[in-house]
């Protein structure tokens, strides 16, 4: 019965060579991945080791005293929440609507291409340039003064490309055949967007928004000149007030306050990075939850 050629499945020299080359490449890629996560682990490890001791209820929820050397960071934490919230309220609707226009309505012509190029360039502008733009435009020209509004507007302009790009990409990920099936039934573009495209791109859009949150929370330069201050004894009451912010507070405690205990700036950094990581985890969890409902 056994008529199979025994040599058929024996490894040839070429087989063995290919196999060993492939093993070496896998090793190389694996090492690079390890190298990549090393700084992340080092940063997190250092922060937890040196700043973990600073974290307490009092640290999170009371005001700094003795020229930032003691007390807590509550005004800065609250200020960051203010800045991020107002920036999102401004940039998310505009960004999503613009992305819908670019992806679903605009034709492929020179005008659209210029707009797309502008968005990519906007994402590449250094944050200090955005800061000076915000100072000139919102603080001075529009006379908002150094305020949460001016700072948030600056942050919104800076992070808008994140929302636009994420939204546009998740819209484009919806197969064209779905749109065509809908148009063929006599649906308008908006009906198609509303009933087929948007429900299936919501995950990506929300992921983009959450990524924007983490980016906005960490920015320092754009808010330095436009609304955030080193220290203020007052909590912000409205968007026209100045505020403290975590990122700036970190800069201040790390460089501007002589004789400060080491665990304070590390603690601030730990809170900031914890905030960002929490947002990212929410985003990942949300994506996983929605992926469970994969639709095609």
């Amino acid at each position: 019965m056994n008529t199979a050629n025994p040599a058929l499945f024996q490894a040839s020299d070429l087989n063995r060579h290919n196999e060993s080359v492939q093993r070496r490449y896998r090793l190389l890629f694996g090492l690079m991945t390890l190298l990549l996560i090393t700084p992340v682990l080092l940063i997190l490890g250092t922060l937890v080791a040196k700043g973990g001791g600073a974290i307490s209820w009092e640290f999170l929820f009371s005001a700094p005293t003795d020229g930032m050397r003691t007390g807590g960071i509550f005004p800065a934490l609250l200020g960051t929440v203010w800045l991020v919230t107002v920036a999102l309220l401004l940039s998310v609707p505009i960004g999503i609507f613009a992305a819908i226009y670019l992806s679903e309505y605009a034709g492929d012509n020179w005008f659209t291409r210029i707009i797309n190029l502008a968005i990519i360039n906007l994402a590449g502008v250094p944050s200090i340039v955005h800061a000076l733009f915000g100072l000139g435009a919102f603080v001075i020209f529009f006379k908002f003064g150094t305020s949460i509004l001016a700072a948030s507007l600056t942050l919104a302009v800076m992070t808008m490309p994140v929302v636009i790009v994420a939204t546009r990409e998740s819209l484009q990920a919806v197969p064209q055949a779905f749109r065509e099936a809908c148009w063929n039934m006599g649906a308008t573009r908006w009906q198609t967007i509303r009933r087929v495209v948007l429900p299936n791109s919501l995950t990506g859009i929300l992921t983009g928004v959450i990524l924007e949150v983490s980016r906005t929370a960490g920015e320092t330069a754009p808010i330095m000149f436009t609304g955030a201050v080193f220290f203020t004894p007052f909590l912000p009451q409205s968007v026209f007030d100045q505020t403290m912010a975590l990122s700036l507070h970190l800069f201040v405690t790390a460089t501007q306050v002589p004789g400060i205990e080491e665990h304070v700036p590390f603690g601030v950094a730990l809170v900031l990075i914890g905030l960002v990581l929490t947002m990212n985890s929410v985003s990942i969890a949300f994506r996983m939850w929605l992926r469970g409902k994969k639709k095609w």
Partner: protein
């Protein structure tokens, strides 16, 4: 022998009956260009009410472009230019402002089934909802009727809330047909519907189409000449953007043909 004789008899009868039926669609001097390429050249034909009109021909014959021009989907294809006249139900569609009304009266089935990423129920209820029907009871009736007519109801009646895009290929294609029927169309256009469907399902869909002929006019674009022979009352043969021949389907296979290329194609002696 008997079957052949009856077939010939019915062909004669339908030919006579057909002469009195008004035209559903009249196409005059239709030329379609993509940039400088001509996809369809100077096609004139008319399609009668309640007939199944077959269009056969190899790839790049202009069959799909022809369908796109009829329901004005050309506006979504950049570079596609349409010249000539297409009269649908007496109106020149080339100069129609309300293209949405036109498209909603024409059901389209694509080569690859497109189950929209929503439930089976919502797939079929979508078109009624677009027309403003939102009452659950009314939608229920429409959904059941359309799924039944598309020969899918028995298979999905217990999972109307399953995702339409996760049904099998053959089921999705029948879902697409049910969705097209939910538009209550005057005209149904099928573009090589059996390409991704198994033979058994194909036969079931063909039976469905035979019944539907009572109510709607059908344009059946197909690669399978035998499918056209089984279903179509009249058939046009497109080749390289040219309408080579239009005639009673059976004539293309057995009767007189104007052009030898038609006979070569239907008998598989091509290229």
């Amino acid at each position: 022998m008997v079957e052949l004789a009856t077939r010939a008899a019915t062909t004669d009868a339908s030919q006579q009956a057909v002469a009195a039926v008004p035209n559903k669609l009249e196409v005059r001097n239709l030329t379609i260009r993509y940039g400088s390429d001509v996809a369809l050249r100077d096609v004139s034909l008319s399609i009668r009410e309640h007939e199944i009109f077959g269009i056969i021909g190899p790839a790049n014959a202009g069959k799909t472009s022809f369908l796109k021009a009829i329901n004005r989907m050309d506006v979504f294809t950049s570079g596609m230019r349409v010249e000539g006249e297409i009269h649908f139900a007496g109106r020149d569609t080339r100069h129609l402002n309300n293209v949405y009304a036109l498209r909603s009266r024409i059901g389209v089935v694509f080569p690859l089934p497109v189950g929209l990423p929503m439930t089976v129920y919502d797939n079929v209820a979508l078109s009624p909802r677009l027309r403003g029907i939102n009452e659950k009871a009314e939608l229920d009736v429409i959904v059941q009727r359309c799924l039944t007519r598309a020969a899918l109801w028995d298979e999905v009646k217990d999972r109307l809330n399953a995702l339409g895009s996760l049904l099998s290929g053959g089921q999705q294609q029948r879902l697409t047909i049910a969705r097209a029927l939910s538009q209550e169309p005057d005209l149904l256009m099928l573009d090589e519907f059996s390409i991704a469907v198994d033979p058994v399902t194909t036969m079931r869909i063909e039976d469905v189409l035979k019944e539907l002929r009572q109510e709607v006019t059908i344009i059946l674009v197909t690669n399978l000449v035998q499918q056209a022979r089984r279903l179509a009352d009249r058939t046009a043969f497109f080749l390289g953007g040219e309408c080579v021949e239009i005639g009673v389907t059976e004539d293309l296979f057995t009767g007189e043909v104007k052009d030898q290329r038609t006979r070569d194609y239907v008998e598989g002696r091509f290229g």
